[in-house]
C-alpha cells in the first residue's frame, strides 16, 4: 500500500483511486489487491461517520469492522449494483448496522474477522496516530487561552455563551477566538507540513 501523508499543507492527498467503481469490478473477479485498496479508501470515512454518531471510539471501531466486512462480502458476491457509488453503499451499510446495534438488546452480532479488514483498520489507526502527533505539535503553537477555548468547544461541547461566561469574555469574543484558534491550528499544520511537501514518495 502506498505511503500516505497524514495531512498536506492546506489540502489532503489521497492515494485511493478517484473512482472506486473499477475496484469493485476487480473484487468481483477475485482481485485481492483491489480489496485492500477499497477497504483502505473506505475505512477512514466510515469510522469518522460512526464516531460522530456514536461518540464512542470503541463502538465506532467495532462497527467500522462490521461495515467493511459487509461491504467486502457484497462486492465479492457481485451484489453492489453501482460500483461507482460504493461510498454511498458503505455509508448505507454503516447506518443500517448502527441502527441494528441500537435496536438490539444485547449488542451486535459479531462477524468473523477478515484479515484485509484488519489490515485496513490498522492502517487507518496508524495514520490517525500520525495525524494526532502532528496536531499535538500544531497545538503547541497556540496560546493557553486558545487551547482552553478549543477544549471547551470540542471536548466539553460548550456553546460560545457558556465559554464566554467561564472565561469572562463576551459570547462574540469567544466565538471569534474559537474560529481564530481553529484557523491557527490549520495554519500551524500547514507550516509543519510545508517543508516536507517536496519529498513525498510512495513507499
Amino acid at each position: 500500500m502506498a505511503w500516505r501523508r497524514p495531512y498536506t499543507a492546506g489540502v489532503m492527498v489521497h492515494d485511493d483511486p478517484a473512482d472506486l467503481g473499477p475496484l469493485v469490478t476487480r473484487i468481483e473477479r477475485g482481485d485481492a489487491t483491489a480489496e485492500a485498496a477499497l477497504l483502505a479508501a473506505l475505512a477512514p470515512r466510515v469510522r469518522a461517520m460512526l464516531l460522530a454518531r456514536t461518540r464512542d471510539a470503541d463502538l465506532a471501531g467495532d462497527l467500522t469492522q462490521d461495515t467493511l466486512i459487509a461491504v467486502l462480502r457484497a462486492a465479492r458476491a457481485g451484489q453492489v449494483r453501482d460500483g461507482a457509488a460504493i461510498r454511498s453503499f458503505a455509508l448505507g451499510v454503516a447506518r443500517n448496522l448502527l441502527a441494528n446495534h441500537r435496536r438490539a438488546s444485547f449488542g451486535r452480532n459479531a462477524e468473523p474477522l477478515d484479515e484485509r479488514v484488519v489490515a485496513a483498520i490498522e492502517q487507518d489507526e496508524h495514520e490517525r496516530r500520525e495525524r494526532e502527533a502532528l496536531l499535538r505539535r500544531a497545538l503547541a503553537g497556540l496560546s493557553e487561552t486558545d487551547r482552553q477555548i478549543l477544549l471547551l468547544t470540542l471536548v466539553e461541547n460548550l456553546k460560545p455563551a457558556a465559554i464566554a461566561s467561564r472565561m469572562g469574555v463576551s459570547a462574540e469574543a469567544a466565538r471569534t477566538r474559537k474560529t481564530r484558534a481553529l484557523r491557527r491550528v490549520k495554519d500551524e499544520l500547514d507550516d509543519l507540513l510545508r517543508p516536507a511537501a517536496g519529498d513525498h514518495s510512495d513507499g
Binding site: 473512482d19 471510539a57 461510498r87 474477522l113 496536531l135 461541547n157
Partner: protein, 315 residues
C-alpha cells in the same frame, strides 16, 4: 456546489489531486459536535463521503477532540490532587505516560472463552442495582463543622465509600462547599462496550479508594468515549469536585443534568451547588440548591440546610 467531488470517469491513481474549498465545510464543526438535526446530519454525511475538503475538516476536528481530551486528562493530576494526597505526582515520573486516547480500534475483538465466562460470572453475581438507593450520598458532616467530615455511609451488601477528605477551610463559603462523596456501587450495563465498561470500573476503583484526582483523570477519558452516559458524567463531575477542580466539575455535572437520566440528573444539582459555593457564586448556588431541594437531591435535608446557611453569609 463549489467543492471538489471525485470525478467518476477516471480510473487512475491520482496522488497529487488537490481539494478546493467547499461551501459546506463550515458544517463540519456542528456535525462533529452533534448539533445537526437528523436530516442535515444525513445530508452532510452523504456529502463528505464524496467531498475531500469536508471529510478532512471532519477528520481534523475529530482528531483535535481526541488530542485535547487526552491532554486535559494528563494535565489534571498536577493541580488537582486532593489535600493529603498532594505529596507527589499521580503517576511516577518514570512511568510511561498513560494512553489517555479513547481506545483505538481493536482488530481482534473476540474475548477468549475464559474471559467471556469470567465476565458472565461477574454479571451474574453483580447486585441488582436500584439507582436511587445506590446513589445515596453518604451522611454529610454538619454544615461548616470544619474538619468534621463524617464517615461516609455504606450500602448493605455493597461498596463502602471511603471517608471524605478532611478539609479544613477557614473560608465560610468553602466550609459550605465541603463535599462528601456519594457512594458508588457498580451497575452492570448492557449498552457500554466492554472496554468502556472496564475503564469506568477501573476509574471507580480509584474513586472508592478516595483517589479522586486519578478517578477524574480516568473518567475524563471514559467520558470522551461515552459522552452520553449520565453516570460517567456525574461521577466525573463529582470526582473533579472532590479533587479540587471545581471549575472543571461544572460542565460534566451540567451534562448529567441535560441527559435527564435519573437519579443523576437530580443529584447533579446538589453537586453543582457545591461547585457554585466553592466559587462564591451565591445566585448560582441558591438556584442549584433550590433545585436540589425540589428534587430531594443530596444527603437528607442538607440542601435545605445549606440554603439557610447561605443566608447567613455576608452579601
Amino acid at each position: 456546489m463549489t467543492c471538489y467531488v471525485r470525478p467518476r470517469a477516471t480510473t487512475q491513481m491520482d496522488e497529487t489531486r488537490m481539494t478546493t474549498p467547499c461551501s459546506q465545510t463550515s458544517l463540519a464543526e456542528a456535525y462533529v459536535g452533534g448539533e445537526l438535526d437528523d436530516d442535515a446530519q444525513a445530508r452532510f454525511e452523504e456529502h463528505y463521503f464524496e467531498c475531500d475538503a469536508c471529510f478532512e475538516a471532519v477528520q481534523r476536528l475529530q482528531d483535535l477532540q481526541q488530542v485535547l481530551a487526552a491532554e486535559r486528562a494528563t494535565s489534571l493530576p498536577a493541580f488537582a490532587l486532593p489535600e493529603g494526597r498532594a505529596s507527589g505526582p499521580a503517576r511516577p515520573a518514570s512511568a510511561p505516560p498513560a494512553d489517555t486516547r479513547p481506545a483505538s480500534v481493536k482488530p481482534v475483538r473476540r474475548l477468549p472463552v475464559w474471559a467471556m465466562a469470567a465476565a458472565a460470572s461477574l454479571v451474574a453475581v453483580a447486585a441488582v442495582w436500584s439507582a436511587r438507593t445506590l446513589l445515596r450520598p453518604a451522611e454529610a458532616p454538619a454544615i461548616a463543622t470544619q474538619g468534621g467530615a463524617g464517615r461516609a455511609g455504606s450500602i448493605p451488601g455493597g461498596l463502602e465509600s471511603p471517608p471524605p477528605p478532611p478539609v479544613v477551610r477557614p473560608d465560610p463559603w468553602l466550609a459550605l462547599a465541603v463535599v462528601t462523596p456519594p457512594v458508588y456501587a457498580p451497575l452492570p450495563t448492557r449498552s457500554a462496550t466492554a472496554a468502556t465498561a472496564r475503564a469506568f470500573e477501573a476509574a471507580m476503583t480509584e474513586y472508592t479508594a478516595a483517589n479522586y484526582a486519578r478517578a477524574a483523570l480516568s473518567l475524563t477519558d471514559v467520558a470522551v468515549r461515552a459522552p452520553d452516559d449520565a453516570r460517567v458524567q456525574f461521577f466525573l463531575g463529582v470526582s473533579r469536585l472532590l479533587a479540587g477542580d471545581t471549575g472543571g466539575a461544572t460542565a460534566p455535572l451540567q451534562r448529567a443534568v441535560a441527559l435527564k437520566v435519573l437519579p443523576y440528573s437530580d443529584e447533579a444539582h446538589f453537586y453543582l451547588a457545591k461547585a457554585a459555593l466553592a466559587a462564591h457564586d451565591r445566585s448560582r448556588a441558591e438556584a442549584e440548591l433550590q433545585r436540589a431541594v425540589a428534587a430531594g437531591a443530596g444527603p437528607e435535608g442538607e440542601a435545605a440546610r445549606l440554603l439557610v446557611a447561605l443566608e447567613t453569609l455576608p452579601r
